[in-house]
Symmetry: D2
Subunit: 343 residues, 4 copies
């Protein structure tokens, strides 16, 4: 950490600051220039609160030289991580692509099994479905809860697809025993109490970026889980909140190469929630594959009786099949262009 | 709710849509124009998912005529709510101003009692202090937890000030039995599981707006607590995330008159976390008082040995005393200008 | 336009509003419901100020049924536009891909000709280079101005590549006589006086989205140029301003399918300015090609003596050649996946 | 400027970088630590492009020690500037409060003179009115232009109020000869060609912050005008673009104390455009006065025939009179609280 001291600061106050830093077990290195004085801080500066130091009246600015995340950091773990999912040990990361698909909410046995079969046929590698649903309004449908998980497990038995579903409360963990990947939703990305509990399991965790969270904060949330002992993390970009209203959120695809640079963890993309509009899901899925995403999570609805829902963010199974085929084609081209190869 | 159907849509598909809406117990009213067809939906439309309808391929747009929040809505509750706090029944709202002050974290008995005494002397009506701390990094200090609450209760016994402290996990509720106001932090504003549990208590809840949450979403989160039975809610504006970096967040003071218009609940402002810089706290506190806020929550630090912290977002007790005096002066003027009067 | 009148509004005031609307040559259609009254407005509502009407105290909300842009609107011009550039009539749009490359600033004859030759060899279809430079600071280098344009023209004579360069002042138009594509920078997207003057030329105009401008505002700015008589417009997405700082701006690639849906104009992407980091330019260029962009504009620097600049947002010529090859591969795959074909 | 070099960088490349910096007339100071190497750069670093240096592949980060604005910087000009307006030498800044009021657009002689008289009676110190109007749509009313300025001058002759009106094109400057304050709108904040021309006049310039511009960029735009010779600048906060839609923009009142700290220039606030809703204008005007703004600019409409417009962002004259009175009361209290005094 580099601390730039304001010009004109009394020597005594600088000495106080240095003493305080060293009292925390860190070393310092003073460099006095004509216009400013710089204190280099060496050691485990992750314990030093950047905001606190930056707010001191004698400090002009603070700059971290090293990131405060460790377990998730590519510097200390140069090779891509591969996350293994379920009994089938389906792989994600390092060239293994996850194609996760399924309905927004689990509604009935018929629905979830029908969707599971059709997305499997189209090439999905995992089944998603909401059992516990975070809803902005307390009056909206909150999901089938435990029953929804039962139905997902039924679909898993029928199709062999590992299942992904969202947790909203650590107290529900016993219900997730046979769930293959536990999802942390965008609204809970900084529910640190939940993250710590998930860190005590050994389940793969799919963690979604919060609407107002930076890429580094996403990594810090992954770090919470990893620091508690669980290193099976899949990161997910799903759009951030901006002033633009043509799409529900703004999909920040640049997060894919940025995350790949900073971390060894696999990165998947959710174009369904990011755009909120079915007809934009396929082009954005293709774009995600082209810039190196390690997977996609796509909403697929299967309800011929409610053809009404066509236009929402969910695709029909046949649209998903087209998307999956297009993604495979683009991904193969991108890997060829990168001189890489599919795992 | 008004649904605008795209021009050129086949009559049959419009009829399907109407049938689907009516199947949910709502009435419709069709109005066919030269260029568009409009379906008016009458009844409890809070059950209708706006995004789902808006995403239909035959729908041009959707417009809610009534807000989906009810208990928090001023329309159904025209008079300002007054929230009563603690055994002393300190009031907030409808002309009663809350001046909440205290340290970021509870650190020691000496610290919290010293701060409590000094802020009380300066006019604070409640004491705040963090026992459970949400931190972006798992390696940062996470608070004294249960011990911190004990120390707050000690300070309450010493000074008589009601105490406000943040909860991060509904499982901790038994520890909050003697806490007077339970705070929901910005990161947990949409932790719906926590909100529902708080709705089952009868404690006043201070709920902070999330960094990326709209004013209406804040009201929907209040609605979660109220729908579960607890109507003692204090809303808190504490800055939103924007591109500007001169302050930590961007304090959205317009939220004060907007919230007062939409809701009967009291609205307080946290200029310490919003700006992140001690020297901006006083002017923004004065501005909050001038535009009608029902209270303030201010970080005050009392640590002569760590004079280093001067510049951070916390004020020293003597700075808080100046702020409190300035706020009283401005508030009296604003009330006079509004022809109103202090409760 | 649909105007929703607040419930409880006096009939007389509704009649006043209707009279005022009709006085502007528009027709109205009244629909009274149980809970609200709706006024449908028919005719050329582009003259009606949505903010003014929405701000009336008797109005609950306003919803436009048709977009206020006409010339740029796909509804009235279903086929993709093809823009022809320069004497060579290089095409952009409807399957014709523009690969525009060149240095941030024109610095010298040697530099621009060297870059022009290398990007042409790598497959560029146009040469870009800044002669007039918009700089945040008045103390930064402002470009070679007229001399810079002369050097670009020299490079065009040497290589045959059409040239693209930015205008900052309509008074400079005479200097742009031989320029093939005039660029309007992000900061000038709503410099309406400049747009009107460009509308009087018949030059292709490349207009960049402003940092805080919505997709619809970009189309309205295109409309300014088109309404003045020039329909040769190329739209450019180059990132918007958000809270994320890992990249200079946030590239909003969803804008590509959204713009293609709303408008017939070609859409290109500038990943260099959007990300601000050379190593993210290639993956984002590939993503842009995958989601259907009609072209790219890429910064390429050619300065072996200043190898220093490697890391900035500019690519070296050999890196651009790799990017161009990768984009061709991905684009062919995306077209194949879409069942489409390259023009 | 502090440049932090990545650990592991070859000495030779560091020497290249130092040589390049020194070739630009700057001095360097090298400090090698265990984990990183720091280059301090001394001299006029405003010429050094921070983005360019920060983008180098060997650079971990860059931190400016001094701001790149000079003329606008309080460091070099500690006392508040006072701007004198018009023949009457009306003062703004250093305790002199500007109350600027008038209609959005000048519509007719009767209208502007009527509004001018009423706002003067209510305490306005200047008259505003749009003659050239920046409109998002080319089909919207663009203002009365030269005739509008004539009418403003007529109102000035009648009332003695100095006039403020917006310029959109430097070619129109001859029309602004008798205008007292020239306004640069938010959309033109970074129209650097216009700023330079305004720098050659000696008129007071009121420059509004752009919707996506940081506080520092606003100061850099002021710097453009000052660097060209005109130091009569009034800064104006008018809301920034965020995800919140309850108000048209988000008024960033913290910008007032931040700008006062960074610069000696007066800072006024425009709550009419920031909120876009008449009923929020008064509370936000009071808040602006409370946090130390040097003035306000308020839209006032006077059109009994169009009582329709009540609800828009414009106030009626009697509402403005109430606002002006409330602002005086709050301002007096704020000054008293600050121990300051009105000029």
């Amino acid at each position: 950490m580099i601390i730039i001291v304001k010009s004109g600061t009394k020597e005594e106050r600088i000495r106080d600051l240095i003493r305080w830093i060293e009292a925390q077990g860190l070393k310092t290195h003073l460099s006095e220039g004509e216009y400013s004085t710089i204190i280099g801080v060496i050691g485990d500066t992750s314990k030093l609160d950047e905001n606190l130091v930056g707010g001191l009246d004698i400090v002009e600015g603070v700059k971290r030289v090293s990131e405060p995340f460790k377990s998730a950091n590519r510097k200390f773990h140069p090779l891509d991580s591969v996350i293994e999912v379920g009994e089938a040990k389906a792989k994600v990361g390092a060239g293994h692509f996850a194609m996760i698909a399924g309905p927004c909410s689990v509604e009935s046995e018929e629905q979830i099994i029908s969707v599971a079969k059709s997305v499997k046929a189209a090439g999905a590698t995992m089944l998603r479905g909401g059992a516990f649903k975070p809803r902005t309004s307390p009056y909206d449908f909150q999901g089938l809860k435990a029953d929804g998980i039962e139905l997902l497990l039924e679909a898993k038995r029928e199709t062999g697809l590992p299942i992904v579903t969202e947790i909203m409360n650590a107290n529900h963990l016993p219900l997730f025993e046979e769930v293959d990947v536990i999802q942390v939703g965008a609204r809970n990305m900084q529910n640190f109490e939940l993250l710590k509990e998930l860190g005590k399991t050994n389940k793969p965790i799919l963690i979604k970026r919060g609407l107002a969270n930076t890429i580094k904060e996403l990594l810090m949330s992954a770090e919470y889980i990893m620091a508690s002992g669980n290193e099976n993390i899949i990161l997910c970009e799903r759009g951030i909140r901006t002033f633009e209203t043509a799409t529900r959120n703004t999909l920040d695809l640049s997060a894919v190469p940025v995350l790949h640079e900073l971390s060894h963890l696999p990165v998947i993309v959710d174009p369904s929630h990011a755009t909120g509009v079915a007809r934009y899901v396929k082009p954005m899925a293709m774009a995600a594959a082209a810039c190196g995403a390690d997977g996609l999570i796509i909403e697929v609805h299967n309800d011929p009786a409610h053809a009404l829902c066509d236009g929402a963010q969910s695709l029909r199974p046949e649209q998903f099949a087209e998307l999956a085929q297009a993604v495979r084609t683009v991904r193969a081209a991108a890997l060829e262009a990168e001189g890489g190869k599919q795992a």
